[in-house]
Amino acid sequence: MIVRGLAGIALAVGALAVLSLYRETLGVPVSVLALLTTMLFWVTQATSWNILSGYSGYFSFGQAAYVGVGAYTTAVLFGRHRLDFGLTVLIAAGLCAVLALGIGVLAFRLRSLRGEIFALLTLAVPFILAALARINGSIDGGQGIIVAVPDFPASIGLFQDFLYLVNLLVAGAAVAVAFLMARTRSGWALATIRDAEDVGEALGVATFRYKLTALVASAVIGGVGGSIFALQIGFVTVDSVFTLTVPLFVIVMSVLGGRTHWIGPVLGAVLVVLLQDRLTAADLLGWQPVILGGVLIAMVLAAPEGLYPRVRALLPASRRARPVDPSELDIRMSPVDGAETALVECDELTKNFGGVRAVAGLSLRIRAGELVGLIGPNGSGKTTLVSLLAGSVRPTGGTVRIAGRDTTGLPPHRIAHLGVARTYQIPRPFASMTVRDNVAMAIMFGREPERSLTRARRVATGHLAMVGLEKLAHAAPAALNLHQRQLLEIARALATAPAVLLLDEALAGLNPAEIDNAVEVIRRIHASGVAIVIVEHLLRVVRAVATRVVVLDRGSVLADGDPATVLADPAVVRAYLGKRSHA
């Protein structure tokens, strides 16, 4: 698949190269070559933008930063100091990589970073760089820089041929990178980030690393494109490269073509540049931003997925994955050896939210093979405890150890790799993926990562069977009812091959028949050797499944022991039901 795709891209590049190499024989006008050059520049830029913003959903308004850094690197070093042109392209790539690393390390480390804030942060970067170029005489100083024509082999033909071929090469490479990223683990990792980032992290996706990789790849491609853009325009000024037109164009192109597919930006770039060409011919260039703005609005509102999915729907139906034979199901469970060792150890665990003490000096041990019912009144700290164990909330004080390793302060994906999986009270599936792929993600990025998607899908079917969802494997999560979504949550968590599974109110809102079914599923999972912590309000369920009950009250353990004893404890009844009902 991947090899075929790359071969296809190489073939397209080769075919397009012919237009220049045999230009005179074919009678291709130079003006067509110039138009194609512009198109290729935008294919590069839109693809660059899409690698981060389309795949991961972190919208950037800062594309001009890469174009500007690239163009100025070449303008200053080649245009002014006569360094080798090819070398300046490499330096531009390096500078953009450093810039992106800086932005990414700062921005993606923010725990409360939201997409909107990232968008505005990236908006500020070109403003800063433009001001820097303007005031710094050794960069620009407000004069602009002339970039002469570099030396190139005479056999290539005109300078326009050279420009075209270089742009073609860069665009081809950019699309190949975008294709590779989409079809490998990073593409799936970025898709989980786009759909539900912290869920992906909790399932074991190293979100920070994947985001940073995408950002750097995007920056390098954008910078190389900007670097050769300097040749194309011949005279680099602050206003010609650090302009808002760049983000406008790349956003419109990607949104138009389709953001989640590698070919979307290519399609969008071709359409937008053709539109630009027609408008220029009709002497209506002044209306272009109006039209592009309109296209952006219309697409976001009416077809946010872009044109590509619609184009594909017109093509002959693609091959569907063959249904999996249930007999080849294979579920891997990896219980931690030694039932006597404590799997989870909390010591003096404390978490304050502002002035509220959600968890107060809590100590708890959970051994392999236990099924612990975690109960307590509302606000007693049950969900906070689950989040602390899974690492999505950092403790104010105290420590958590999983299978003997201190996990306090570790990122959630590392904790997932140590064998902790959780479900969410309100199910949070990856909306753009099928039910089976939701589970396959957990297998690809979980404790025992399975690199091949095909194999991960096969294993995923087994997990779906465990919870009874195998018939819905190809459905979209949106088509599931609440019960099925909660089962999907469980299947997905299970697919990370956990040693301990944290079920946060996995039965909330179910009817009695569904509850019985869910209880059956939980028993089955427990029987396979996974320790389970179940947060549940229904004492009937707790009594039926738990081997041990822990009662929380105001952030600390009120009672701990076998279900019958604990649930009969007067203090528990008081905390849970209030004084009067005890009487």
């Binding site: 909107e116 908006l123 800063i128 609005i297 939210f353």
Partner: protein, 288 residues
């Protein structure tokens, strides 16, 4: 002395930034709509002021009688459309970016991309100034400052004290719960959008009083004003005011001490730093 003069001048200018930012900040905070088109409304208002004053010789301040109702309706209509089309927070950024780009180009097609300024004959405020002995302030900036403060303080009080204001704050906290208590977010949203539109009219007029106009100015606001919105804390009016004054004074100081071209550099670096240190805004008390 010149540093003090420019810092104070910047501070006064900051009032106008704050007024521009207030509309963006409140719609973002309350309605979860990041309305970049607000800058388009300000731009159109500035040009309308210019047009009415230059063509018909109306006193620029009196043009508010025309622009405020127009922008009131435009702002309300815009908000109505966002709501009807179910635009999400992130999508609002894209949709209104498209609107802004289109608006700027339309303004450019109508009024040209050249710098234009109201002539002194129709704009009696342009040349007047207040001389306190050591410091001299142009009347236009002073006026902008005072009106901006008055409007923001008034809006703040309205949000605190009036029924509609309380309803809006309830909406900002939790739209679903507010709805369950009978708060109609549609009607309130349209009203809020309309009021924000009206502030855009005032901001546009104040800008046109003191400055030569060119359509691309809207993009400069885009940067600076967004800085103010974020630094002030989304949806926090007094924070927005404080941030506007801070940003204004900072760019005033940098312009004089370094160079005017250095101002954006220092300003945006400050924003990035502030975002990283206090992502919820400089002037917002930490919750949680």
């Amino acid at each position: 002395m010149i540093a003090v003069q420019s810092a104070v001048a910047g501070l006064l200018l900051g009032g106008l930034y704050a007024l521009m930012a207030a509309g963006v900040s409140v719609t973002w905070g309350v309605l979860r709509i990041i309305n970049l088109a607000h800058f388009g409304l300000i731009l159109i208002s500035a040009y309308l002021t210019f047009q009415f004053a230059s063509e018909w010789g109306i006193d620029p301040i009196l043009t508010l009688g025309l622009t405020v109702p127009v922008m009131f309706v435009a702002g309300g209509a815009l908000q109505w459309a966002y709501d009807r089309l179910g635009v999400s927070e992130l999508n609002s950024l894209l949709v209104s970016f498209g609107l802004l780009i289109a608006t700027v180009q339309l303004v450019s097609n109508i009024w040209s991309a050249d710098f234009q300024r109201m002539s002194a004959a129709v704009n009696p405020y342009a040349t007047a100034s207040l001389d306190t002995g050591r410091l001299v302030f142009p009347i236009t900036t002073l006026l902008a400052f005072l009106i901006a403060i008055a409007l923001i303080a008034g809006a703040h009080l309205a949000l605190r004290r009036t029924f509609a204001g309380r309803a809006l704050r309830a909406l900002a906290e939790d739209r679903t719960i507010a709805g369950a208590f009978g708060i109609d977010h549609r009607r309130l949203g349209v009203l809020l959008g309309a009021v924000c539109g009206a502030t855009a009219a005032v901001a546009g007029m104040l800008f046109a009083l003191a400055n030569a106009l060119t359509p691309a100015t809207a993009y400069e606001w885009f940067g600076t004003v967004f800085a103010v919105v974020i630094l002030g804390g989304i949806g926090h009016l007094l924070g927005t005011l404080a941030a506007g004054l801070f940003v204004g004074a900072l760019s005033g100081l940098v312009s004089v001490l370094l160079s005017p071209a250095a101002a954006p550099f220092v300003l945006f670096s400050a924003i990035v730093l502030a975002l990283l240190v206090r992502p919820r805004g400089l002037f917002v008390r930490a919750v949680r």
